[in-house]
Amino acid sequence: MNFSLTMSPSDLLLLLPEILLTSWLCLILIIDFSFPRLPNEQLAYLSIAGLGATLGCLAWFNITGITGTLFAHMFVLDGMALFFKMFIVGSTILVILASIDYVHRFRFFRGEYYFLIVMSALGMMFMASANDLLSVFVTLEFSTFGFYVLVAYLREDMASNEAGIKFFILGVFAAALLAYGISLVYGETGKLVFSDMKATQATPGLAIGFLLIFGALGFKIGAVPFHSWIPDTYHGSPTPVTAFLSIAPKGAAFAILLRMFFVALATFKPVWILLLVAASILSMTYGNIVAIAQKNMKRLLAYSGIAQIGNVLIGLAAGTKMGSDAILFYLLTYLFANLGAFAIIIAVSEAIGSEEIDDYSGLGRRSPFLAFSMLIFLLSLAGVPPLAGFIGKLYIFVAAMKEGLFTLITVGLINIVISMYYYLIVVKKMYISEPHDPSPLKVSGPIKVVVYVCLAGTLVIGVYPQPFTDWVVSALLMFSNLAGPTASLPVPPAVIPFGG
């Protein structure tokens, strides 16, 4: 492989957001060490400032349309990468805001907490740009590395330690799968860059290789059958970390999945469509049915997250430009609904010290604001109009319908009804059950900001999605050469021409 590291200033420009964030990362660490007495709120706001600057830089790229590739196509900055980078940085900002109160629970290394979060975000930003198998491996491990530490951050808490160990062992296993898959694919094709693999022949080795890679990425997004770490890890981790884990890595992993399936494997669509259909049906059904029996809010959202990923996979299975648009749009709606729900879990657990669904009894009386917001987020996750989640689900279904994936849509629709049940159980606790303790709850400022942002996102996207759909459509212009809505309409029977 011809590899040159001569970089022009314009090449450096493409890396500007990452360079900015890397230097900010060092700054955070230095300030944390130099001023040990610094209240950790300051450090949080400092990280947010850096992330905000990065977000601004990405937005500027998005508006001016700066794109390009670097390092012999290993790193690519296109509309999709920009979308996912903004997705990741945006969710990181919200997560840091939501963790400002929670951090008091950590006895040690409060400053490093922010460092690790931002570092993971940086890793995921690289993931969104990864355009060949090597950079996929490196960036994926880079981003997961921070999470291994973050998940086990509550050192005295056995559940957190258990979550850490589980996540670590399964994560390393997934990394091994990924490495093995990459070696097989490289052995078969001799190529690493996705866009070079377009015309390769199908061989068993290649198939197994990509299956292994899909397994590793499936671990990241938590699709059945690679989901087993999700419930315990979500349950045991510090709640802000759970929130982060439930959003950002999924976005980054979908960036890679989209590149892999839509670019590298575009010619093998009839084969992988079956794989995705199976994974999607299993994820939706398993996630929703098991979620019914949950008693803990975080576990409930863990299983609901598995089901949501099943929904996103419908869009991937559609395999069209519209399907990919729908995926991006869905993830956007999921970001607001899911992060909002986790922010409320943090607020409630700060106030009453519990994350059990039963302790949400009477939340509608104790804190109408939190209960109403939770209602909106849960209904958005369930896909009820006029909230964002409904439009997201509909977008996905329409994309799949155009490809004629009837089974998948039927299962998806039935799952909407199943999911309605367990989300409404929480609503019932909040609004209908009487509170065990009627004292009102206090909500801190930063959490309120997060909830307001998420509420605004959920409602605005639900009521007026046009700007957001325009955004995802323009972000994915590179896929517009994909087979669009196929003209596979059943041919009407021969018509009987009437005279003349």
Binding site: I432, P465, L489, P492
Partner: protein
């Protein structure tokens, strides 16, 4: 107002709900005034809409269209025809009345009115949607407020309250609660309602998505689809696609109507709901089913409708008889009215199934009439419950001395519900019966038996509530004296009686919506006939139903319109 009437009607309740968010619950009077004010704007605008609807011109009027999503082909396309207009008016009247009926709610007043307004606005939204997406959007949007209204302000049934054993408590909250028929708690009723309606709504959504795909037009617009969608004769799964779509749409929406085998959520829901919610629920929410079937299945799949509508003719008999008998034996006032509603909805299905000008006009007028009648009955059942804290008919009695006004209204409500001359229900019932006699004489006989049943159970309930000896513990019960308490009943009575004496405007408006629809459905003849007479076929483009003057069409039924020949146009 003029052209924007629909926007006022739709967004006044939403605006009221949003304004209420910023008001404190302690200012109860302000909360009520905001709710009543927004409902009043909605009512005024819908009265304007009803009386300025031009029935000579017909078709969809007051049309508003805003692009909403280019990628998905969705636009906020609003407009009413002769079928939607009276139903919008009925919703607005019931919302306005419902606000006064729930005037005395103490617990979380603000939240109650917010959800009530959203519920009414969503219902109204369905009646004016000309876009399949928004039809579903508003339809599904009306379900969640029902859950909260039932759950938060509803009431348990008597049997539930008696269940105090710990095991029973556990059973109530168990996962298998769906099969727990023993205790109809309000939570059970609310959850059953939501799951039932959502489950069938997604079936309808599947139908809508299939229309979207196979029309290939990349739009959800009903007006475009009904003119251009070519959904006939596509073979799938041993039958044709249009039949599958039709069945999905029909049963998806018939669940809220509620047609006989799909009705079980409805009486339970009525019984648990607070009075104003029951009114809206039975008065207009159930009509969403009929209306959506007319709007989607009748408009887009007219030929399939003609072929498959006998299904409704069969099922409606079960609705009428089953509902009537259960209502006769029920001991809970709200169960009686709830089952009577689901029985009466069978008449609407009969009127629809006959696919006749008179009977469908009667069916739509019946929807309007029934909204008033059942609204009255539920309002009064709610009043009696508020005063006596029971809905158990055997334990009540002799209330006519305590509440003469309510008693008098109740008599009128019963008359209206039965369809005695003097109320608009009579006209509507007669039209349904006359109109469907030619096609379904047996069903008409069943319907007449149903009217006798209605007599029986309503008089039985009236006797149980108002005559006989009164239990002393109800001696504190008092009549509706204040203006706010009497106003809603008087409004509904006035409307119900007024339209009996002056029905022509209502009739003309409805007829202007029904005519093109029936003309379109009945004028296309089976393919076999077309082939036989192929030589004499007058080749004619698809019936441009909305614009045509169709007054002379009944005799025109056999004019052939070969749909299969469109590909060479």
């Amino acid at each position: 107002m003029g052209d924007y009437a629909l926007l006022y009607i739709l967004f006044a309740p939403f605006a009221g709900a949003i304004a209420l968010i910023f008001v404190s619950n302690r200012q109860a009077m302000l909360v009520r005034s905001i709710a009543a004010g927004s409902a009043f704007i909605c009512l005024l605008a819908s009265l304007y809409l009803f009386y300025s609807y031009d029935y000579v011109k017909g078709g969809f009027q007051f049309v508003q269209r805003f692009e909403w999503s280019r990628q998905l082909g969705i636009s906020l396309h609003l407009g009413v025809d002769g079928i939607g207009t009276p139903l919008v008016l009925a919703s607005a009247i019931l919302l306005f009345a419902g606000i006064f009926v729930s005037w005395h709610i103490k617990d979380r007043t603000k939240e109650f009115y917010i959800w009530l307004l959203i519920l009414a606005a969503a219902t109204i939204g369905v009646f004016m949607s000309l876009d399949l997406f928004f039809l579903y959007f508003f339809y599904e949007m009306s379900v969640i407020p029902m859950y909260l209204l039932l759950g938060m302000w509803g009431s348990h049934t008597k049997k539930y309250n008696e269940m105090t054993d710990p095991e029973g408590l556990k059973q109530r909250d168990s996962v298998g609660f769906i099969f727990n028929f023993g205790s109809n708690s309000k939570e059970y009723a609310a959850m059953k309602l939501v799951l039932f309606l959502s489950a069938f709504a997604v079936a309808a959504l599947m139908g809508i998505l299939l229309i979207y795909k196979y029309s290939g037009l990349n739009t959800f617009d009903i007006l475009v689809l009904r003119e251009q969608a070519k959904l006939m004769n596509i073979p799938v799964l041993g039958t044709t696609l249009d039949k599958i779509i039709w069945l999905l749409i029909f049963f998806g929406f018939a669940s809220i109507a509620p047609l006989w085998p799909l009705h079980s959520w409805s009486p339970v829901g009525h019984a648990a709901a607070p009075a104003a919610t029951s009114m809206l629920h039975a008065g207009v929410l159930m009509k969403l089913g009929h209306f959506s079937i007319i709007r989607v299945a009748f408009e887009i799949l007219p030929e399939t409708t003609r072929e498959l509508m006998p299904i409704a003719a069969v099922l409606c008999m079960f609705s009428i008889v089953y509902g009537g008998f259960v209502a006769f034996y029920a001991k809970d006032t709200k169960y009686v009215i709830g089952y009577s509603s689901s029985s009466h909805m069978g008449y609407v299905f009969l009127g629809m199934a006959a696919l006749d000008y008179i009977s469908l006009t009667g069916a739509v007028m019946y929807m309007f009439a029934h909204a008033m009648a059942t609204g009255m009955l539920f309002a009064m059942a709610g009043w009696v419950y508020d005063q006596t804290h029971t809905r158990d008919i055997p334990s009540l009695g002799g209330l006519s001395n305590r509440m003469p006004f309510i008693y008098a209204c109740f008599v009128v409500g019963c008359m209206a519900s039965i369809g005695v001359p003097g109320t608009v229900n009579f006209i509507a019932e007669v039209m349904i019966i006359v109109g469907s006699w030619n096609k379904y004489p047996f069903q008409v006989i069943v319907a007449v038996v149903g009217i006798v049943l209605t007599f029986a159970y309503l008089f039985k309930m009236m006797r149980g509530l108002f005559y006989g000896p009164m239990d002393q513990k109800y001696s504190h019960a008092h009549d509706a004296v204040a203006v706010v308490d009497r106003l809603p009943l008087l409004i509904m009575i006035t409307v119900s009686i007024g339209f009996f004496f002056f029905p022509m405007h209502l009739y003309n408006v409805v007829r202007s919506g029904v005519d093109p629809l029936i003309a379109k459905i009945t004028r296309v003849v089976p393919v076999a006939l077309q082939e036989r007479d192929a030589s004499s076929v007058t080749r004619e483009a698809r019936a441009d139903s909305s614009q045509q003057n169709v007054a002379a069409l009944p005799g025109d039924v056999l004019r052939l319109t070969p749909r299969t020949s469109r590909s060479d146009q």
